[in-house]
Symmetry: C2
Subunit: 257 residues, 2 copies
């Protein structure tokens, strides 16, 4: 029997999603430890995709195979008794026929959060990166349009990726700004059919740089020819959140998973 | 020369504002250690009021006396080189003539944040308490009106307070709710001329209980006769934030302090 889980985590104290050989604390490692305790045998937990060290997830989607008499909707409670407070299974259900959380993911939305303020702000730094300069939102929104559509994003992929192809489709990038006195908070929502290693953080870095006056030519060259030489720096992990994964079918009754 | 500081902290890893004899980590202790390093002599740092262990502050106001050639507006940068990332001086200035951050505080606003969701949510639990039941906002808003005005709040004061009088004025309580699927996020803004030990957390607990169907009579008895016997439980510290302190005069140029 296959179960689907909706998982939320504060990534600060995790070495990313994927289980590591060297004993680092990972989301997959913690979920599999809990699953093995619940099912009484070694149990693998698959995810829609990995998240890097320090990256957060509001609604990561996972699946696992196992046999238990516990009702599927109550499985999340069993997990949460085994997990530390920075990792929670927020919903569980029987998986639809033929469901695979990795291959079935149709679109994912990540949110990158950053703030500009004269000093670091302790109440923001866990979930947002600090910008050294305050970008203008209009040039960022104009540049966001260039990313949309199908492109070869190899210039936006950090080395170390094992992806077979670097072609991806970005459906939409939305950028918002909230101002409060000398503080500006920016959020970049990126929805696509999949993302390469550090791709969202690389896109966010380029957009913030363009907001601070960087010309568009290096971005155009990166999208057209894969030229990464003049791209801005990748943004830090703490500002990144996996917001949602869509499969084209509802997975959980009554949950905005 | 007197300086005024605007201080932000994530209270999670502090044993409250006030310096402790037993070596616990406190906001005052860390600020005084930094101030003593900057001014080259033992320096006391006063605050608008104490915050309890685990309570956060967006804009706590402090003052200190010392002599330095560092421009007042740049003093915050010197502090931040000495402080850990969960505590920052976000603005500094020369204090106005006769300024006292403790006695001069005219009104303070605290925000209590809580959420209702089927499970704990790791991305919320650092700054909001989880409610076991989802309250209705209308009865909470109606009950909030009873707190407003001048009252003897001794029923809402935890034992251990050294306050001379338990009479305080609450100017305004505002409550907001944001819904996202099965998640509801509540914020209670309480503005008053001062607050007793655990008073805001006690008020928040009573308001959430009333939102879940508790009758008004115990609240009315508590406000009229100081009867605390039937009041709801005090809410946990993590949901509480000192949002702002007003002195009736601007303290920092261009900062929403």
């Amino acid at each position: 029997m296959r179960y689907v889980l909706c998982v939320q985590y504060d990534g600060t104290d995790f070495s990313g999603y994927q289980r590591q050989e060297r004993g680092e604390r990972t989301v997959q490692g913690e979920l599999e430890r809990a699953a093995s305790a619940i099912f009484g045998c070694e149990t693998r937990v698959a995810a829609s995709g990995r998240t890097d060290a320090g990256v957060h997830a509001r609604a990561q989607i996972c699946h696992l195979d196992g046999e238990t008499s516990i009702p599927a909707e109550r499985l999340c409670l069993c997990f949460n008794r085994e997990l530390a407070p920075d990792l929670r299974v927020i919903a569980s259900a029987a998986a639809p026929e033929g469901f695979d959380c990795t291959r079935g993911a149709k679109r994912k939305t990540y949110v990158y959060s950053a703030y500009y303020a004269p000093t670091e702000l302790p109440l923001f730094s866990r979930y947002a990166a600090r910008l050294q300069e305050c970008p203008g939102i209009s040039p960022m929104q104009a540049a966001a349009r260039l990313f949309e559509g199908e492109h070869d994003f190899r210039a936006f992929c950090a080395s170390g990726s094992s992806a077979k192809t670097t072609v991806r489709t970005i459906y939409r990038i939305e950028i918002s700004e909230i101002r409060r006195g000398t503080l500006s908070i920016f959020r970049i929502y990126v929805t696509g059919n999949g993302f390469l290693y550090k791709m969202v953080r690389s896109i966010a870095g380029e957009l913030f740089a363009i907001g601070c006056g960087k010309p568009l030519a290096p971005l155009e060259a990166a999208l057209a020819h894969g030229d990464r030489a003049l791209l801005a720096k990748t943004m830090p992990a703490a500002g990144l959140l996996l917001d949602r994964v869509d499969y084209g079918i509802p997975l959980f009754a009554g949950v905005n998973g």
